[in-house]
Symmetry: C2
Subunit: 253 residues, 2 copies
């Protein structure tokens, strides 16, 4: 019977700058009696990675530029947060109705460049996305391997909105140990017809399934996935950038 | 320990027009020794719903209009398939690079209005989306309830692309028995700060997790989800249309 189980990793402490996330996750799993095995995937939300890596900014002292001030005034935002968003931005995709949909340096297109004030323990701060989420994922994978002997996949997620559909879903922002895309092109379907267009974003589907357990208010920042038969990849062979649609082929950039 | 298990429902026959999907799924689960319980969710791909409901069209005899002929000629498509797409379309969102991104009658924005030639057993056919997927989901829920006593949620999915990101993911197209959105607005986060924007598209996350088991080439059209604590809703109280962003609030329509 083919099945995949997503389990909330409980008991992680509140994460602070400098924390070793791989070690904390391995410890939490051990405390749960849930020893990771090779082939498992650990899904971790971006916020704890940003905290561990010191990607939290104080709003005090941030000097908003003219554009940040005018946008913030028009839409009742904190101009210092808008300034942090613009700092992370290389292209503004939409700027309307109080929304800033932008392209970040690495190429993600999302609201507010991923800059986010939620789930920070002190007022007056905002979290930026990790600088190199694939590297962060590879570090966690290496640390969990060192401590447990298991070679797990790691997926770092963030909660993104999307055009046309209401609501946020978890998507992959960083990956290590597995291929983020499952390319079925060339396979035959049930009727013997070749599949031409079917590339499945399995990293985003892993993120989505894990998102069901990562309630934004109840502090579950990581999930263990067992039973998903992924294509193993060494760090460096692939990365989350494979999930970014090339700007030239993107009709909505 | 909070965990959610997705299990492929194996042994379903090839679906034909008039088939009772709820009964077939209940039977397949029984053969697997996996009796559904109240609180489970059954995720079913749109293609088998379209087949059961006779939403398959023969291409022979379809008369393409001028727009269908010119688009097909320019991008090397079958003009009869393009005609079927235009028949299902109320607004063309993008028409470029061989892609037709359209809004369908119910309001879904997707490539080719969901018209799809894959996994049909006879050449020269295309499947249209079900006419009323919430109703189809409610019928399956009622039939499974009648046969097993379990009140399950049902999510009907399709495989959609998205702007900005490579690859397809399963998303919810029809729903019965559960709320498709989890509205966390007003709750307090870890730092005691109120969440302002957080509405999670849990129906799409359920679809995504199930998509990991619904390989497009290996004929798994349905998945049982156990352990997800959803908000129960009677059919009629909610529907998949809650997932459609209002055109006026949509910066990409």
């Amino acid at each position: 019977m083919a099945s995949i189980t997503f389990t909330a990793i409980e008991g992680l402490p509140l994460i602070r700058q400098g924390d070793n996330l791989g070690r904390l996750i391995a410890g939490a799993l051990e405390n749960m009696g849930l020893r990771p095995v090779t082939g498992d995937v650990v899904v971790v939300c971006q916020k704890v990675v940003s905290k561990a890596e010191g990607r939290i900014r104080r709003l005090e002292g941030v000097e908003p530029c003219a554009l940040a001030r005018s946008f913030a005034a028009r839409w009742d935002k904190d101009p210092r947060v808008v300034e942090l968003v613009l700092n992370e931005t290389v292209r503004i995709v939409r700027m309307d109705q109080g929304l800033l949909i932008v392209e970040t340096g690495p190429g993600w297109v999302c609201a507010n460049a991923g800059v986010d004030e939620s789930n920070l323990l002190a007022e007056g701060h905002a979290a930026l996305l990790p600088l190199a989420p694939d590297r962060s994922a590879a570090q966690m994978r290496a640390e969990i391997h060192r401590l447990t002997g298991a070679l797990v996949g790691v997926v770092i997620t963030d909660t993104f909105g999307r055009p046309w559909r209401v609501g946020l879903t978890e998507v992959c922002l960083g990956i290590a140990g597995l291929e983020p895309l499952l390319d079925l092109r060339g396979l035959k379907d049930l009727g013997g017809r070749e599949l031409h267009h079917t590339v499945v974003a399995v990293a985003d589907e892993l993120a989505g399934g894990a998102g069901l357990l990562m309630g934004k208010a109840d502090g579950i920042p990581a999930v263990l996935v067992r039973g998903y038969a992924y294509k193993a990849r060494e760090p460096g062979e692939t990365g989350a950038k494979a999930l970014i649609r090339d700007a030239k082929a993107d009709l909505f950039r």
